[in-house]
């Protein structure tokens, strides 16, 4: 399986165990929600998945590439939308995307073409010349998703991408990323908001660094995922 594989990841911050033998496998073309309250270990897991630091034990495989043995091949197959915005607000939308394209080896006509195509598809072509700082939160997030897809990754990681957005923007982005999964992209979506998870999504519940449940969201949550999630995290507390 060449989606995303996380096997037995354990990571400590000093004396505190942030992740405890976390194992998760997301098959290609699947939307997997990583649901956890604040402090569950989601950001630590994203730091490890994006190789900002390496796990003390366990392994991560991205589209068939071991992240510790073939980091460059693994990172080339990965698109990331971080929780905090990583846009350069002083630069234009187009420049931001071209910069990212160049970091992934795209330049010249190819980079221009893919940048403009991504912006057009997101209905943002007319904003290409605007400063990123002039965009509202929803548009910035759309732009970051478009940017994460320029190099055509196989795995898309999003760390609480709807934080701070209004309800309409949030719903649109959730629906859009679900569509991307249907087209074959492997998606790992970290959130603490139950309403972003669809019944047929893959769901992993993370709490205090441990996976409490892993399976189809509908099966885990029954007819009330919100209540189930609350009881699970309360039980484990």
């Amino acid at each position: 399986m060449a989606g995303l594989k996380i096997e037995g990841i354990t990571h400590d911050w000093g004396a505190r165990r942030a992740l405890d033998k976390v194992t998760l496998a997301v098959e290609p073309g699947r939307f997997c929600a990583l649901l956890g309250p604040n402090g569950a270990g989601k950001s630590t897991l994203f730091g490890l998945l994006t190789r900002l630091f390496v796990p003390q034990s366990g392994r991560i495989e991205v589209a068939g590439h071991d992240l510790s043995r073939e980091p460059r091949a693994a990172l080339a197959q990965m698109g990331v939308v971080f929780q905090s915005s990583t846009l350069d607000l002083d630069l234009t939308v187009r420049r931001n995307l071209l910069y990212f394209a160049a970091l992934h080896g795209l330049s010249g006509q190819e980079a221009e073409h893919r940048t403009m195509a991504a912006l057009e598809r997101l209905g943002m072509a007319e904003r290409a010349g605007e400063r990123a700082g002039a965009l509202n939160g929803g548009h910035r997030r759309r732009m970051e998703i478009a940017r994460a897809l320029i190099h055509r990754p196989k795995v898309l990681l999003l760390d609480e991408p709807t934080v701070g957005l209004d309800a309409a923007s949030r719903a649109a982005i959730v629906s859009h990323v679900h569509d991307l999964a249907k087209e074959g992209l492997t998606v790992l979506w970290a959130t603490h908001l139950v309403d972003e998870v669809h019944a047929d999504d893959r769901l992993a519940v993370l709490h205090r660094g441990r996976i409490l449940a892993d399976g189809e969201a509908g099966e885990i949550g029954g007819d009330n995922l919100s209540a189930r999630f609350l009881s699970m995290t309360k039980e484990a507390a």
Partner: protein
């Protein structure tokens, strides 16, 4: 709001782009240059500090400081002439620290994460960033030298060319120090400590404002500290280069300090071993 679907379909036969180091280098240089040009006040702010030293302090100190003939000078020089290489070094020092500040800011704001997740060796990404910062430093240093020239402080024309590699090496060394510090600083608020414990001691315990023999008259110990300070050697490298002369010791210490700081910075940013691995 509605979002049209972005197609991500890509046949297995299609070759994924390989990350190309020099494409990334050009992009990082371009980004820094655009940011620099976009922040109009940055050049002015970078030049005000050394210009105040040159126009105000140097005028006051001229009478107080008698300078003897020491290499590379072949005749008595005014204090203004003496401190121009030191003030050029000051620009590089402050800009190196400014880069460090912006790296910490980038890390807090997230754009550093974007850079570090690019499919390229981390040392190369850091080197690109270092090179970009040094490029901006050199532009500022030449802008300062141009103003000094207009003010009447002029060096042989060949000196302006010979100064380029000296400025580049000094900027790289100080930028690498900034990079190393950015891997140590956990939060932006801690940057004030860098000002107090790194920039000021480095600047004042150097030959930027007074020759070392003058310092020795006051305290041989302080002179030894100045001698051990790599910034002293960066300033001397620039001073000699502005007269198209070489200074092997200054070159050796500056180059050695660059290698040391750059290696430590790469270690500091190593995801497995460095300081970043210990951050929550």
């Amino acid at each position: 709001m509605s979002i049209d679907t972005v197609s991500t379909a890509h046949p297995e036969t299609e070759r994924l782009p390989r990350a190309r180091p020099f494409v990334a280098l050009v992009a990082i240089l371009q980004r820094e240059a655009l940011r620099f040009l976009g922040q109009k006040g940055r050049l002015v702010a970078a030049l005000v500090r050394p210009l105040v030293w040159l126009f105000v302090f140097a005028a006051g100190f001229r009478a107080a400081l008698g300078l003897s003939i020491t290499p590379p000078y072949q005749t008595y020089v005014t204090y203004e002439i003496y401190i121009v290489p030191g003030l050029t070094g000051m620009i590089l020092l402050f800009n190196g620290m400014q880069s460090s500040l912006s790296l910490v800011y980038d890390r807090e704001m997230g754009s550093m994460r974007l850079l570090l997740t690019a499919p390229l060796p981390r040392w190369w990404l850091l080197f690109c960033r270092l090179l970009a910062g040094s490029f901006i430093s050199i532009l500022q240093a030449y802008a300062f030298l141009a103003i000094a020239w207009l003010y009447g402080i002029r060096f042989p024309w060949i000196g302006y060319i010979a100064a380029l590699p000296a400025l580049a090496l000094a900027a790289l060394m100080l930028g690498a120090l900034g990079l190393l510090l950015s891997s140590l600083i956990r939060q932006l608020e801690n940057f004030a400590g860098v000002m107090n414990f790194v920039i000021f001691p480095m600047f004042f315990l150097s030959s930027a404002l007074y020759p070392l023999w003058k310092m020795a008259e006051a305290s041989p110990f302080l002179r030894d500290l100045c001698e051990a300070n790599p910034f002293t050697h960066a300033v001397e490298l620039i001073r000699f280069a502005l007269y198209a002369k070489g200074n092997l010791l200054a070159f050796g210490v500056t180059a050695g300090a660059f290698v040391l700081f750059a290696s430590a910075a790469v270690w500091g940013y190593d995801p497995a071993r460095g300081f970043t691995a210990r951050k929550a």
